[in-house]
């Protein structure tokens, strides 16, 4: 046998980097837990509290269903209007932010605007709008529109930047005016993905609209927060169940809408 072959043939060489990574993770967890004062004792007390808490939540109390319904409806309205406004505004902004279609002096400010819209949590934006526009649904709509622009604008611009320019070139070669080039060369390529994230944002807005009420921007969040502070936990439970049901319905609706527009019966097949 060749002397070199006597060298050990390792079947599964140890990946030291991966091991170090996992070790680091464990060390971090222990460190962070101690920093945040997660003692076992606290956890046990908490579990006990939790049991009592859940006891107070069930059975859910739907007695004040009018308040519930009013809050839910307002949340739905906020989500619908914010999504519509957000989509309408994001389309041109996203188009203008696409670096493969537009010159730098146009894309730069648009990308900056989109990044700004994305940077802040909808709740923080809602707080600012409550100060500017007062309490109520208007602030919620404004805040969620900003969030929508940040999300849809970014993804739409990215989708456009990934299209095949060859198809656009062909349309341009027929002498079509700019808008026709967009309609026939660009939009068909991004339409599928656009429907995907437009429906996602609708769901996301529905979720957020149930929450911005906590800072006064309308919707069921206000009633939820008030119930918490009054220790009305069975009413809280009723509201939570309704919210979960609403979001679930929203997701089903989104799937149906996608099926209608994507013509293949399933989610976009990118």
């Amino acid at each position: 046998m060749n002397a070199n072959a006597a060298a050990v043939r390792v079947a599964f060489p140890s990946n030291w980097w991966a091991r170090a990574g996992w070790l680091l993770l464990v060390v971090y967890i222990v460190y962070a837990c101690s920093l945040l004062d997660f003692t076992w004792a606290r956890f046990m007390i908490g579990l006990d509290n939790g049991a009592r808490f859940i006891g107070r939540m069930f059975p859910p109390n739907f007695a004040r269903w009018e308040t519930l319904l009013k809050g839910l409806t307002e949340s739905i309205e906020i989500a619908v209007l914010a999504s519509t406004l957000g989509i309408l505004v994001s389309l041109p902004i996203g188009l203008l932010a696409a670096r493969n279609l537009m010159p730098v002096w146009v894309t730069w400010p648009c990308r900056l605007l989109i990044a700004l819209c994305r940077s802040f949590h909808p709740v923080i934006v809602a707080i600012v709008f409550v100060k500017a526009l007062g309490f109520g649904a208007l602030s919620g709509i404004a805040a969620l529109t900003v969030a929508s622009i940040g999300f849809i604008g970014k993804l739409f611009a990215e989708a456009i930047e990934e299209i095949s320019l060859k198809q656009v070139e062909a349309v341009r070669a027929t002498g079509a005016p700019f808008m026709n080039v967009i309609t026939y060369g660009v939009l068909p390529q991004v339409f599928g993905r656009f429907i995907g994230f437009a429906t996602y944002q609708l769901d996301s807005n529905l979720r957020n609209s149930t929450m911005v009420g906590i800072v006064g921007a309308g919707g069921i969040g206000g009633a939820l927060f008030a119930a918490f502070q009054r220790f009305d936990y069975d009413f809280v439970c009723a509201m939570l169940l309704s919210i979960i049901f609403l979001i679930f319905a929203g997701e089903l609706l989104a799937t149906r809408v996608r099926a209608v527009f994507l013509e293949r019966g399933k989610v976009d097949e990118e």
């Binding site: 993770l25 945040l36 739905i76 007062g134 906590i214």
Partner: protein
């Protein structure tokens, strides 16, 4: 040419069924928008007043109280990062079993799939802020409530995307492993895990990024982190400190996003 050339040829882009469906969706959307506009209560004076209010707010926020940072902001910021990270880790640990239970090709039991999916939907539907309210009521104010809130909210996100990655795994590979008589757990670790790894890390990074943003506001309801500094400053109308907190949050979010993009390039 034959006489059929004389018939007018009509070209329709969509079949009648498709047209009806599309029209229905458009109609529903327009109806929803119109109804919403009519019933949403908008007080016109507030709308007109808005620019003035915004200008007033911005004036009060300037100059930004940078001196507030070391005492009031720094520790809370670090706490926020820990909440986000621990919360994400905890979520991943809890999401795995549920995600596996939700995927039909690993758990061939429709009832179990349904229960798992329900859990995931419930987790996603409740905002992290609302989870925070719950956990503050149970565990008291502080970072523990915040971490659990982040964790419970993220389970749905991670679980759903991991479940989808599992369902899209190459069936042929799994078949080959099953044909060798490998036990269920081995098929999982050697067949599915290598395939879903890139998607998994991508999802975890993405969620961590979002969680940093979410953790920053949990303090508004008392669940620890920098949100509490924000809440205090707002209640005392110290808008320059509010500005400082907002700047700090913004900076951390940007840094987190840069970190995520860099790590993504390395491992994908």
């Amino acid at each position: 040419m034959t006489t059929t050339a004389l018939e007018a040829r009509i070209w329709q882009r969509f079949t009648p069924a498709q047209r009806i469906a599309r029209f229905a969706v458009y109609l529903a959307m327009v109806t929803a928008v119109v109804m919403s506009i009519q019933s949403v209560e908008v007080i016109p004076e507030f709308l007109l007043d808005a620019p003035e209010q915004m200008a007033d707010l911005l004036k009060r926020m300037w100059p930004v109280a940078f001196s507030y940072y070391p005492k009031g902001v720094h520790e809370a910021l670090v706490e926020t990062l820990h909440i986000a990270t621990l919360g994400t880790i905890l979520a991943v640990v809890m999401a795995f079993p549920i995600g596996i239970m939700a995927a039909y090709n690993i758990t061939p039991s429709r009832p179990l799939n349904f229960v798992a999916r329900l859990l995931l939907v419930a987790s996603r539907s409740v905002n992290s802020l609302v989870w925070a309210l719950l956990f503050v009521a149970v565990f008291g104010p502080g970072a523990l409530a915040g971490t659990l809130a982040i964790a419970f909210r993220s389970i749905g996100f991670v679980g759903k995307l991991v479940g989808e990655a599992i369902e899209e795994a190459n069936k042929g590979t799994i078949e080959a492993l099953q044909a060798t008589g490998a036990p269920w757990f081995s098929v999982l670790t050697k067949g599915y895990w290598p395939q879903i790894q890139p998607a998994f890390w991508s999802v975890v990074l993405f969620r961590w990024d979002i969680n940093v943003r979410e953790s920053a506001v949990l303090g508004l309801v008392g669940a620890g982190g920098i949100g509490m500094a924000l809440d205090t400053a707002m209640n005392l109308f110290q808008w320059d400190r509010v500005a400082m907190v907002l700047v700090a949050i913004f900076a951390v979010v940007i840094i987190a996003e840069i970190a995520v993009t860099a790590i993504r390039k390395k491992i994908i």
